[in-house]
Structure formats: C-alpha cells, structure tokens
Symmetry: C2
C-alpha cells in the first residue's frame, strides 16, 4: 500500500510508493520505454487495459469493444490504491495516511499519432466532457477531497506511452499549490471584494501585451510572473470557480477551442515541444467560491535549468512573458 | 536590467531575464555547451573570468594569479545585476522591482576533474569558509535580504561548466520555500516551545531507520516525507539557526565531513549521479531564531517524473526514504 506522508515543517503531502520501491539500479540503467509493437491504448487492444470506467462510443456498441472515440480506464500502474480506508495516524511528530486514491487514464483518441494540437475542437470537447464526468463520479467517494486532471505529453514531460492520453488523480488531500492559490485569492477578496483572476483578466485585456488568444468565453495569456518560458494559462472570462460547472452553454466548446489554439501555436513556435498541462479548480466539496477561478496551466518543458528551483521555490525565467506572447500571438496557424 | 516580479496570487517572486531573453530557436536547437579546450575556471586562465572577490591562496601571492586553492568570482552571466536601485513599484495589480542582486561562482578547487566527493574534507571546509565570508560580506549590502548558496553538479542538474563550482545568489527578497519553512517552524514553536528540526533529529535518532550518517556535530538523514528518491538532508545536531555562525569549534569540519560522506555514498550507490544542493538558513538580517535550524538539502537528479509536480506542488516519490537510507548507510566507502 502506498503512503501519503506530510512534510512536518511545511504543509505538503507526498505520495511514497512503498510497494514498487525503485532500487538504485533502476536509476542507473533506466529501462527504455517498451517498444510497443502493440500499443495497449489502440483500438482492438482493449484486453490489454483494465476495463473502461467511461467511454464515448456509439450507443449500440458494448463496453471494451473497439469502436470508441474516447475511453477512460484505471491506470494499470496506479500511484494510489482505490480500495481501503485512509487510516490516518501520527507517527511520532509525523502524519501519514494510506495512499488511497483513484488514478485513471483518459485515452484522448483512438488514432495513434493524433495529438491535442492536431485533432478537432470537437474531440477536445469530448475530452473535457470525460474529465467532467469522471471528476463528478469520483466526487461521490467521500474519501476524496480533490481530483487533479493533467497531461504529460512527450517522454521529457513524463509520458510513458506515445498514444495521446491524459490522466487524473483523486486525492484525500488538497494539493499544496491549489490550497495556496485558494488562500491567496481569498486574501485578495477580503480586501477588495473582487476575484483576483477576474481583475487579472481585466488588466491583461487593457494592457494587451500578454494576451495570446481570446474567443467569446475564454482567454489565454502569459502570466505576468511566469515561472517558465512560454508558460501559458487559459481562463474562462466570466467568473467560474469549478471546472465541472462551466457557463459555456455549448459544453466547453470555447475552452477546447482556446486549448487547441494555444497548443497549435506552441507547436509552431517551439517545434512541437513536450509539455504538461494541469486543470486548477476549486475543490468539489466546496460550494461556489466568489474568489477562486478555475483555469488551465500549460508548461512547455524547454529548460533543464530548474536546478535549484526545486529546492528554493525560486524561478529564473529566461524569456519575458511579453516576448513569448508576441511569438505565440503572431504564429500563423 | 532583469526584473523581479511577484506572482499576484501566491507569494512567490520570479526572476525574469528581460535582457538576455531566450528566443524560441534557443530551445529548439539548444547550443551544445562550449567544448572548452581551455577551461575558464582552471589555474592560469584567471584572465578569462571577472576579478576575484575572495580566494584561498598563499599570503605572498597576488589576487588573480594562478596559485590559489579556491576562488570566488562574480558570475560572468549573472541572473541579476549588482548595480542600481530596487525601484519597487506597482504595475496595475502587479508588483515588480529591478533585478538587483549578486550572483557569484565559487571555484571549489584548482584541480579540473576533482569533485566534492573525491576531494579532502579540509578542502570542503575551505568551501564552507568561502560561503561564510561571502554571505557575511554581501549582508552588508542593505538591498539584500537573503543569500542562497547552492550547487548544480552535472549537466542534468544545470551545471554549464565541468570544473567543480558552487554558486550563490543574493536577493532583495526571501525565497518562498525559505519563508514557508520559517513560518511552519514558527507555528510549531508557538505550540510546543521547541524547534521542530531539533524534535525531528531526536525522533530520527530514536527511530533509527532514516539516519544515513552521524558524526559529533552533524547528522544526515532521509526526510520522512522525501519528495525525491535518495533526497538527503544534513543538519547540525545542536540548535543553530544561521549557517554563518556555526557552533562547530573547528569551523565546519564536521559539516564538511558529513557532506563528503553523503556524496561519496551517493556516488557509490547511484553511480555518481548529477545532483543539486542548497543551504537553507535563517535570513541574515534576522537575529537568532529559536525555531529555525539551518541545514543542507541534497537532491540527486534521478527522475524525469516531476511532470505535473511543477504545476501542483504534489510529489510522487518512487523510493521510500527508509529503503534509500539502507542503501546509503550500508554503502561501503
């Protein structure tokens, strides 16, 4: 059983994979990713994956048969276990609980080689729809406090399979970064009675030097204090705290369009870089939050320079966000 | 002039290198590190570096001549500029200041190819002594609030030169991670009237499953909630809040011995991995802190898996610290 352990000094939980403990030899001679003659995520190979928990498929087709447009399956090698109780306990001055959680894989497309940047907006909309369905379903499990939805694209960004897929992890704790954003935005709200994200959007629209793309309901921008070169965010222009309750009357159409545009531009300017994206949202258990605003953070993995950043939380970004914006905005796609 | 910009939502400053802005082409075809036929850090090539600000050399030798044991020089490509005023200002709802700071390089040894893990303890003691002298000298500059001392060893860990060197950056702000540790340990102190690091040391000595090495004044351990496989910390066993005022009566001898041992063990077990270390200390301007305890954090760079960690602050560590400890402790060196 993996464990969740809390750093006693700062408020951060870590997953410790006590079971599949990686020995030194693993790091010295890292095994190459399996040359999948047969891709386990391709149609026809459904028997190679755990049984699906959600799919987009014709109404007359049966679960785990090949004619799907999108599938969600439990991760075959989950970071957390779905069965069991949390068993929260103290160990001297430390705090731990069992590593209970859900870890699922969203197979974005049946087409091996298709990526988010070359698929249709409609397909991306399906992916957002799958995120929503799974997040809502997992929220019924009262052990979970938060579901992280994310994508690792490319080996450098941590993807272990080529076939385009996203992931989600449901956790019994709220990740530190999300808690920090919530308390930071709550402080701002206490002072101003306004959502800081809404204020940022207003200022960015006025300044107009860090706006990458806009459609009716969504805006993409390079954050003023970007940690990484070409980091970009996508936010709903109207206030929405929860990802799963979009005001987009056509179910994430504009979010999908904005994500598609940013990824296409990123591919063009940076020659299809590896990247990660994460959906930051209010925790599901919480009601509507007037101070928090869901958004997507996209980080192309361009730099090795994150050396001491890990240890200090201090970032050096070699590309000003205004320059990154100019490149992305002007990219002809 | 580089800029320091503050994330408006969470309390984190970022250095934006507005001058040497890196264009997309840099990331697409990253130039290989210069094949230094002549290493600028080797004795005899002092003319290739800025003039030294500190050195360990015979008393009859003159600055910037070749017969040194250790040199400290300003970084030729500094992340921050030493001249100028901070000019703190608001930009709409954002906060910025000029990127004022010191960025220095400590050339650990005159011997090209020597590393911290194969040099003498006495030489490492000299390096600690240089850190101390430079930190104290830079503390006289009232623009600076904190000096980060760190090392990037190996290309993957961010080193751009082979010749063994450490770095320091003096900043007009305290890095987020340090502030978090200080406020976390202050909370603990308020409740218990004890230093949390002192309590951790006591518990680790009793549990004896995460102690890698101990000498008279220092202890090395794998943190209970390690973020990374084989992460290790070195702490003074007696309470000390500031790195520059060690109670070690032989000037960092035991700290140097502990660092030497941990790095030798790490080399043995993990086949000389790239690594980063950082010195976490109370800010110099602050008086003695009964709740904060300086220490060194060493992170071997073994995993690419830090994909979504950057975005969520949530870490998955594939090697339990107890297992890492066993390997390191038993490594025969």
């Amino acid at each position: 059983m993996p464990e969740l352990r809390k750093d006693p000094i700062i408020d951060r939980w870590v997953i410790i994979s006590t079971e599949r403990g990686k020995r030194p030899v693993f790091f010295i001679e890292e095994p190459p990713p399996p040359k999948a003659a047969m891709c386990p995520l391709c149609p026809g190979n459904e028997h190679m994956t755990p049984a699906e928990v959600y799919a987009v498929r014709p109404s007359n087709s049966s679960p785990n048969s090949p004619d799907w447009l999108l599938r969600v399956i439990p991760n075959k090698f989950p970071a957390l276990r779905i069965e069991g109780s949390l068993n929260k306990e103290g160990v001297g001055l430390y705090d731990r609980m069992n590593g209970i959680g859900a870890h699922e894989v969203i197979i974005d497309t049946p087409v091996h080689g298709e990526t988010l940047s070359n698929m249709s907006v409609r397909s991306i909309q399906n992916i957002f729809g799958a995120f929503k369905e799974r997040v809502l379903d997992l929220a019924k499990d009262k052990r979970f406090r938060f579901t992280i939805v994310f994508k690792n694209h490319g080996t450098i960004a941590g993807a272990s399979l080529d076939h385009s897929h996203s992931q989600l992890i449901s956790l019994p704790v709220v990740p530190k970064r999300i808690s920090e954003e919530i308390s930071g935005s709550m402080n701002y709200y206490r002072q101003k009675d306004r959502c800081i994200f809404c204020d940022i959007i207003a200022q960015e629209q006025e300044d107009n030097v860090r706006v990458i793309y806009e459609n009716k309901r969504f805006i993409s921008l390079s954050p003023y204090a970007s940690r990484f070169p070409f980091e970009s965010w996508i936010l709903p222009k109207n206030h929405e705290s929860h990802f799963v309750f979009p005001s987009d009357d056509d179910g994430y159409r504009d979010a999908a369009d904005a994500l598609s545009m940013v990824l296409k531009k990123q591919d063009k300017v940076l020659n299809s870089p590896p990247y990660n994206f994460m959906i930051h949202t209010a925790p599901l258990g919480s009601g509507d939050m007037p101070y928090y605003h869901w958004h997507i953070e996209i980080i192309p993995r361009l730099t090795k320079m994150a050396g001491f950043e890990w240890g200090t939380g201090f970032y050096i970004n070699p590309t000003p966000p205004e320059e990154a914006t100019t490149y992305l905005k002007e990219a002809d796609i």
